[in-house]
């Protein structure tokens, strides 16, 4: 019933030792902090502060919009200097609206923020709402608003809360260090979340390449009713579907959410953020970022205020020792290329990597020899080479029928391909095309209906006008006839 290992997957060199040896350091405040209004999945937050307004640390500066959204809080006290567009941490380099904050260095906390001494006495819904108003989103990288997930899980009823301590991406070690240094806070956060969704049990999965983290978490979890389990260190062990199957034996059905199968999963850093929000009363205003890659002089983990420009952070960490071949936000497998270093740190920035050409180890794409290494590597059981061949031929529908929408984009297939084919790129391109076509088809349906209605209206109006004219003419003719009759009656001849 419980599969002992990961289906498929690859084993890239971890490179964790570059950054996981030293403790987390506090990054100082940059001169300007750029708070993106879109740091989460869902609708962007709307700013509630004006330019020139003074804000305190932890103060609400942008409120959530709609059902799936999250608020934003000031990472430090200071003055709002601008509300303008700034380069988004997105491969396109397109702009995003940010609140520019100039720190005043006083770090004055918002006095309305109050810690709680006994949050487990609160009703579960209250906990969920507090998590939401603290602006907490999934810190593993997905940035889905945590409160939405908690509330829907509470309503559906979940059996198991799983904390993801996998961190299967190479280079990243922020979760590892957090588990070593603050295991009690993570456990407290887990218990809070368990209460918030009324789960029966809590399991924390940690990859076996983190022995110190496993030991620390096991010590902290003693007597708390939290189960710590070691999982094989293989990529993508930390992927939700794969971790759920390994820890509980449940295979999440396609196109369903984990809550539908009675499972809720959150990252360990999210649990720690929940602890800080509820027990300490502090909203989400900073996160731990791994700086790594051979092109950096100094690798390590930093607790960074949100909105810190990447350039400032890297400069503070002693900059580059050679020109990086590529800058990445996240891990090398699923991370995105950064357009430049002006981008700010957002809630989903788990790491900033400066890689050299040797580390990237890429090559020009060659012909596919159907070696099926990708089929063996795919954790979802897809056939990447078949989907890729169909996409190259333009047959997106065939690719979809082969399971394109089940692809989680982990990149194991592209990693292992001996011909260096850009498989995941092809899949994301095809997904974008299919979504585009769906949008266009829906719009065309709508406009067709509009056009039809307009035609009907125009013909109806023309007809009505005709009838009106005919009626008037008929009335005029009758009138004329009556007058003639009357005239004829008056003068008989």
């Amino acid at each position: 019933m419980f599969s002992p290992k990961l289906r498929g997957g690859v084993h890239p060199p971890g490179h964790k030792e570059l950054s996981n040896a030293s403790p987390i350091r506090l990054a100082p405040l940059a001169e300007r902090l750029y708070l993106s209004l879109q740091q989460h999945l869902g609708a962007p937050a709307t700013p509630i502060v004006k330019v020139g307004e003074r804000v305190r640390k932890g103060q609400l500066v942008a409120s959530s919009q709609g059902a799936i959204s999250a608020p934003i809080h000031a990472p430090t006290s200071g003055v709002v200097r601008a509300l303008a567009e700034h380069t988004a941490p997105h491969p396109s380099g397109l702009p995003v609206l940010v609140i520019t904050l100039e720190p005043d260095g006083r770090e004055e906390w918002d006095p309305s923020l109050t810690p709680l001494s006994d949050p487990l006495a609160l009703p579960p819904e209250e906990l969920c709402l507090r998590v939401g108003s603290a602006g907490i989103v999934g810190l593993g990288g997905a940035t889905f608003p945590a409160a939405v997930k908690l509330i829907s899980s509470l309503q559906r009823g979940v059996d198991t809360l799983i904390l993801n301590g996998g961190e299967c991406e190479p280079y990243l070690s922020c979760d590892d260090r957090l588990m070593r240094e603050e295991p009690e806070h993570i456990i407290q956060g887990a218990l809070l979340m368990q209460h918030a969704v009324q789960a029966r049990r809590v399991v924390i999965g940690i990859e076996d390449n983190k022995p110190q983290a496993l030991a620390a978490m096991r010590r902290a979890a003693e007597g708390q009713g939290v189960e710590i389990r070691s999982v094989p260190s293989r990529y993508p062990m930390g992927s939700e579907k794969q971790l759920v199957q390994l820890l509980t034996g449940i295979e999440l059905p396609a196109m369903s959410r984990a809550a539908d199968s009675g499972v809720l999963m959150h990252n360990v850093a999210t649990a720690r953020a929940v602890y800080q929000a509820i027990y300490l009363g502090r909203p989400l205003i900073s996160r731990i970022v791994t700086l790594s890659g051979q092109a950096l002089t100094h690798q390590g983990n930093w607790e960074v205020p949100l909105g810190t420009p990447a350039s400032y952070l890297i400069n503070y960490a002693s900059g580059f020792n050679c020109a990086p071949a590529r800058l990445i936000m996240g891990g090398p497998m699923m991370g995105i290329q950064l357009p430049d270093l002006n981008v700010p740190v957002i809630k989903g920035t788990s790491g900033i990597l400066a890689l050299t050409r040797e580390e990237i180890n890429s090559d020009e794409p060659g012909p596919c020899v159907r070696c099926a290494s990708c089929v063996r590597a795919c954790p979802m059981g897809l056939q990447p080479l078949e989907m890729a061949a169909n996409i190259r031929n333009g047959d997106f529908e065939k690719a979809r029928s082969l399971g394109l929408n089940d692809c989680v984009g982990c990149g194991a297939c592209s990693y292992i391909c001996p011909a260096s084919l850009p498989l995941v790129h092809l899949f994301n391109y095809a997904k974008g095309e299919l979504a585009n076509r769906q949008r266009e088809a829906r719009k065309m349906e709508k406009t067709r209906v509009l056009a039809q209605r307009r035609e009907e209206r125009v013909t109806r109006q023309a007809r009505e006008r005709e009838e009106l004219m005919a009626a008037r003419r008929a009335a005029a003719a009758r009138k004329a006839a009556e007058e003639e009759e009357a005239a004829g009656e008056e003068s008989p001849s």
């Binding site: 850009p422 585009n436 509009l450």
Partner: protein, 174 residues
């Protein structure tokens, strides 16, 4: 030698005859092709294909007088659907993939003459006499009729600017 030629020739003739009979007896009656093609088109009668209406264009396409990629507002999706319906192969190179466009009114130049909204086939322009007109983006099909009739050239078809929400990955070059 005749012994080998005659039976084979006779067999070929007989089988050919049977095939001919089958093609008539087992013929599949196709429903009105033109109507099916018309159902795939946007239906705004914009005239960009050179035909007076979508129905006329559908008839021409069914008769084989138009290539499958004849509908510019329909884009690639319509071209592929028409090609699939007609059983033709689509020459994607001939399809100029244009960036999507929307009508936009320059409010400084609009005089409120109402000519544009009277010709819009999807009622995408709202306005009244001497009032500022405005275009509803999700109803506009960029057919271009409003641009033709506007006396002050204040309504133009402009390329939609890309945002983070609309951006998508390009096709990888291989």
């Amino acid at each position: 030698m005749l012994v080998s030629i005659l039976p084979l020739a006779g067999l070929g003739t007989l089988l050919g005859f049977l095939l001919g009979v089958a093609s008539r007896v087992l013929y599949v009656e196709r429903s009105d092709l033109a109507q099916e093609i018309e159902a795939l088109l946007p239906g705004t009668q914009c005239g960009q294909c050179g035909n007076p209406s979508c129905g006329a264009a559908a008839e021409a396409a069914a008769a084989g007088e138009l290539p499958p990629a004849f509908c510019p507002p329909g884009g690639r999706a319509v071209a592929e659907a028409v090609a699939a319906k007609l059983g033709l192969s689509l020459d994607l190179a001939s399809l100029v993939e244009e960036r999507p466009r929307l009508a936009e009114i320059n409010e400084d130049l609009c005089i409120g003459c109402t000519r544009c909204y009277k010709v819009c086939p999807t009622d995408a322009i709202a306005g009244a006499a001497k009032q500022m007109h405005v275009v509803f983006a999700d109803a506009c099909t960029a057919c271009g009729k409003c641009e033709e009739v506007c006396p002050t050239e204040c309504i133009r078809l402009v390329v939609v600017t890309e945002t983070l929400q609309s951006w998508a990955w390009n096709q990888p070059s291989l």
